[in-house]
Symmetry: C2
Subunit: 235 residues, 2 copies
Amino acid sequence: MAEKAKIRSLPKFAHLPQGDFDQVYAAAAGRSFAAGATVSEQGDVATYFFVLLDGRLRVTQVTAESQQVIVRIVNPGDLFGIAKALQRTDYPGTATAVSDSVVLSWPMARWSDFMGNYPSMAMSAMQTMGTRLQEAQARMRELATEEVERRVAHAVLRLGEQSGREEAGGIRIDFPVSKQDIAEMTGTTLHTVSRILTAWEHAGLVVGGQQKLLLKDRRRLALIGDGEVPGLLGG
Amino acid sequence: MAEKAKIRSLPKFAHLPQGDFDQVYAAAAGRSFAAGATVSEQGDVATYFFVLLDGRLRVTQVTAESQQVIVRIVNPGDLFGIAKALQRTDYPGTATAVSDSVVLSWPMARWSDFMGNYPSMAMSAMQTMGTRLQEAQARMRELATEEVERRVAHAVLRLGEQSGREEAGGIRIDFPVSKQDIAEMTGTTLHTVSRILTAWEHAGLVVGGQQKLLLKDRRRLALIGDGEVPGLLGG
DNA sequence: TGGCCAGCTTGCGCTTGCTCAAAGTTGCGG
DNA sequence: CCGCAACTTTGAGCAAGCGCAAGCTGGCCA
């Protein structure tokens, strides 16, 4: 089974002894989701946790006033839906496939089991949480101190880093991103995002299109993000 | 040693077998810090990790433009300075004592050791990170979607919850908090915080004072925080 | 007891970016 | 090839809250 070899090679599982891996693998169920489908829903009882094998997911939370916020993008190899690690019995957010996706799932009941018996998985889970915590704090800092244009710069750079693919002329964001999506990542409106990206496109920093984004000048974007350059709005 | 018994009773260590606890305890060094002293500094090589025994710490990060952000408040019993868990070799933030404080410290080199050999400590560390991650995400959501007055309401309620003491007439925040501090927690300016708290004080929701804060009407504050009530500014 | 300093209050003008509104664009299914 | 739906652009007006500036308060130390 080609899939098994592929999974074996994920950093997440690479350090697991072969016997342990076989057991972990045996407990897993694979499942496919078409773009637009919901993998797990905010508030539902968390019955499974997952690893994304292929595709791309968007994790959102909806506030009491039904404003949506994009918490993160899940990339292949990432662990998600680990409610148990957050001391929760329900999923804190909704995971939606933005491209056709394949996930591996385990019953949540096995979580403590895995953590207790496979130290290398526990380590890996902890690393995941550490990375996420740092990203969350970075975004907090941005939201608290930066104006919109810088936040958008950071957001698209992050997208490029985590979900980008080198391409002639720049870094292509590897799944459909709408202006609305970027707005929900940065705490602004799609209108403002549109204005900013249009200005950047005129300056040759990016190339846009319907749910498409190509970063052409990463360095200048970073300068805007770090506030070392005035920003292009209002010019 | 009375201190040892006190430590033993912390939830963090309560589930550790006695032998393990003795070993962990033997590796620890205690240290006191006067209010205002710095326990660990952003960017320094992370040589120790800590548990706060007594007092209160403020963890801040400074942005490239030297704007300060308060990441969290450390309360007695909390683990902090766990750079290793975040895959870092340096401290991501500065921890400063806001009251006279006592901490227990371990060499960072022991971290993997502890995590590998004492599963109940690993579990507890994971819980800590889970809690923090959720709090960070909640604050992200607030910063992205709520206006200032609601964010301030959430911030003071959180302070009350995590660091408050019941008192005749309300919940007293148990350490000195300045308006500037609240501003740095909510991503606003001390001016705006001052205006908001003044309005609330007139309405009988809180009582302020130099670096003092008493929450008198938790329920109405929660209503403001949840946006179910117009807010008192501009009245 | 007087001076000093950190922290706080308050007023005013101005900017950022939001809201509302309307029209333009793109891609897909039939 | 048409029509529709989703997505995007652009404009105009407006308000939340920031920056600046000036003055106030209360605690602490000489």
